[in-house]
């Protein structure tokens, strides 16, 4: 339990709250963008909420990022999803966070924000396909994995670009860590 209880300041708590809200709004906006019509792959998503996770990972650390991802998945499921979309978004979010936090260890030395974001997007899709196979107890969804992985190169670059803009701006105003 010692690892879970971490030091929180009022500032970081407020920022976490704001980020959860922003992630929820992004999830909602994402539902209104019919990306499936442009790139017709079942299950394709832009992954806009990933921008928030990446931001939290960058400025607040993995524990805050985990907290924000969990809260977003739970609240999003209560607002506009069901149990299945909850399982999907949770498995995707957790695997994506895991991969991004590993890659973040080599940030600026080995990886830029683009590599981290693309890795996270791909991991998100892998997590979803794994859960879909488990829920359906079938391998019928596996052929879509390759298409989803290729699409994650595009969606991951987009969210990576947005995150790069954000981080540039935070550099400019002299913020390197929020605590």
């Amino acid at each position: 339990m010692k690892n879970i209880v971490y030091k929180r300041t009022i500032k970081s708590t407020i920022v976490e709250g704001i980020l959860v809200t922003m992630a929820l709004i992004l999830s909602y906006v994402e539902r209104m963008i019919p990306i499936g019509l442009i790139i017709p792959i079942p299950g394709i998503k832009l992954g806009l909420a990933n921008i928030v996770t990446l931001f939290a990972l960058f400025y607040l650390g993995i524990k805050s990022a985990l907290l924000i991802s969990l809260l977003r998945c739970i609240i999003a499921a209560m607002l506009f999803g069901g149990i299945y979309s909850f399982l999907f978004s949770l498995s995707g979010a957790l695997l994506s966070l895991l991969v991004m936090s590993i890659l973040m260890g080599g940030y600026s030395r080995y990886f830029s924000i683009f590599g981290i974001s693309i890795g996270g997007a791909a991991a998100h899709n892998i997590g979803q396909v794994i859960i879909a196979s488990l829920v359906l107890q079938s391998t019928a969804v596996l052929p879509y994995l390759s298409l989803l992985l290729l699409s994650s190169l595009i969606t991951g670059s987009l969210t990576g670009f947005t995150s790069a803009l954000l981080i540039n701006h935070f550099d400019k105003i002299g913020v390197s860590k929020i605590n």
Partner: protein, 131 residues
């Protein structure tokens, strides 16, 4: 002009290369080759409900009401799709027509899988037996 200072690093290309190779590997593993599309297998919660020979369906064949979402599955002209469904995510409907072996349309909320199963042509028949 937006300038992004975040320069690409060698590891980025490694990530991209890894994803592309994963995509290629999964294609090779899970997508069947040039087999003839012959059967549509419709299952719900892992139980096979219909096993239809695609080529024998001459007229539009409708399969209705497999679950509480009242989905309408249509087979015609050697292809199959979810024409409509009342499920919340509509992924099954957006999948559209499928016709190639290995393809599948899935409705997760209802637990329904529509899968095209290819019969790989058997080329291993004995041509002649020499004595």
């Amino acid at each position: 002009m937006i300038v992004v200072k975040n320069k690409l690093k060698p590891g980025d290309f490694l990530v991209v290369a890894l994803i592309i190779s994963l995509a290629v590997i999964s294609t090779a593993l899970f997508v069947q080759g040039e087999a003839e599309a012959t059967r549509v297998v419709i299952s719900k919660d892992g139980e096979v409900l219909y096993d239809v020979n695609l080529e024998e369906v001459k007229e539009r064949l409708e399969i209705k009401n497999l679950s509480e979402y009242n989905e309408l599955i249509v087979i015609e002209d050697g292809k199959v799709r979810f024409e409509r469904s009342n499920c919340p995510d509509q992924v099954c409907v957006r999948t559209g027509w499928i016709s190639k072996p290995g393809q599948a349309a899935v409705c997760l909320p209802a637990g329904i899988i529509v899968k095209i199963v290819g019969e790989i042509k058997d080329n291993d028949e004995i041509d002649i037996i020499l004595r």
